[in-house]
Amino acid sequence: MCDIEEATNQLLDVNLHENQKSVQVTESDLRSESELLVTIGATVPTGFEQTAADEVREKLGSSCKISRDRGKIYFVISVESLAQVHCLRSVDNLFVVVQEFQDYQFKQTKEEVLKDFEDLAGKLPWSNPLKVWKINASFKKKKAKRKKINQNSSKEKINNGQEVKIDQRNVKKEFTSHALDSHILDYYENPAIKEDVSTLVGDDLASCKDETDESSKEETEPQVLKFRVTCNRAGEKHCFTSNEAARDFGGAVQDYFKWKADMTNFDVEILLNIHDNEVIVGIALTEESLHRRNITHFGPTTLRSTLAYGMLRLCDPLPYDIIVDPMCGTGAIPIEGATEWSDCFHIAGDNNPLAVNRAANNIASLLTKSQIKEGKPSWGLPIDAVQWDICNLPLRTGSVDIIVTDLPFGKRMGSKKRNWNLYPACLREMSRVCTPTTGRAVLLTQDTKCFTKALSGMRHVWRKVDTVWVNVGGLRAAVYVLIRTPQAFVHPSEQDGERGTLW
């Protein structure tokens, strides 16, 4: 216990919000830039651009531009707010914009286009974005230190329903074995949804790095910065590939700055995003994608935390609302909910014991993390896990304010055929537990045909108010926002005997 308290005291100094002070220290060097405004770009789950823009307006006070290049939003902030930008929960990755070309004129031949990119490197206004990058790097250093301390002092956890308690030495081992258990780590990270992504030296994106890697990087003061260029290209009419663009642009950047190119151990990641005629050059501010943040124990279909956040926002939770995810899987949605809407109560349920265990483990991890961060000896979170059957929920009629869940698509989990019975039964049971008039449901599914059919028979209890089309792991899916009508739930046995079967 005292180890943790000591560590916590150290950590309080490096709390992200405390970084305002460190920002100002740096800023005394850049006195004139204390008013510096920068344009930040953020990648968000496709379809949730508006939700993300709402979060930015709410938390940062800035309005957003939503790019034609789907899944990206842009907003302007002052450098002082940089720390708060990292607290946004609807964004996957952040970058600072170096320059934006609304209507870039590509020349006719490949050689000319690539030559243009080479020339471009020397003409861009790098200095301010690089200052931002430097400030941002100082946040990350502290965050990496904190993560290390976290891993060393995380508490004992219960492993998968067995009696064994895992101590801190085995924490990493436990994570790995869980990954193997679930066979697939996280389908939803499938980069196949991107059009054409390439980096300077034809390797794939290295998103997760070793902790030791990072610390050794920190210890040595790099004399020469290491960098890489990542190019995302989308469009029909380009006569070049992202590989070529990254290579030539990167070469010019290297000549200009005299940096060293390094695929895996880079300090600076330069982004070249090309979407038809829109070209944006940026510098990345995040390394590993933020969407892994809450989940330590993955299942086969774990939802991105950023997507879970977007869905919860669509529910518009009010204080003291009861929010239930009756098919929670690993608990991505309730966990995100408990973190961000801690004045609501969250219940995670699933029929699969493996899933419930994973959810419970993820909750435990979250508790551990928040205990260390808050510096309190223990701190309950308003969330619990139950094993139950969605078609027979052990919940009182009309007791739930919000239902938010990721319905089995019928691809990786369940089957399309099964959905024909499952979806109507779910909707019915959900309508029973949900409070009439004020209750609402936000449901994600890829099997939109089945869902629409099931919903059409439920108009007396559910009214659809919105549909958000999203891209989930390469699959086109929809998030349906439903409001519970004022009609009270009537038990089938009380209705006329004509409707024999349920569906």
């Binding site: 219960i158 309950g380 619990d384 896990a385 139950v386 094993q387 929920l393 052990p394 919940l395």
Partner: protein, 137 residues
Amino acid sequence: MYLCLQTHRKWSERTYVKNLLSSHVWGVGPGGFPVCFQATEVCICPVEFNPHFVAPVIPKVEWAVFPEVADNLRLIQVPKGPVEGYEENEEFLRTMHHLLLQVEVMEGTLQCPESGCMFSISYGISNMLLSEEETEN
């Protein structure tokens, strides 16, 4: 934390009542049957007291069943009902906060008094799945 849950069978009116960890939604079946359950391991988990979180819950508690359940768990000083002006009564709120949010059943079983069906609680997670014959009429 206690959650009094109720299951609803498809065709019959029979309901199950259960107390377990979770929120503060107390309910009881239409017949008003009290729950019987055995707890072999109970844990007191400290939760920061927030009167604004507890107060709205008080009216939702099913007082008919609350004392019985608390008895089963051998808890002491269980209020029989909300006191006059409970929103301002910090002592009352703190007691309810403790009973609703801090007492967790880690291991045990729940039995529905009407049907006799048993549900287990393990590692704080209760298993509310009905068996095959229970789901059929």
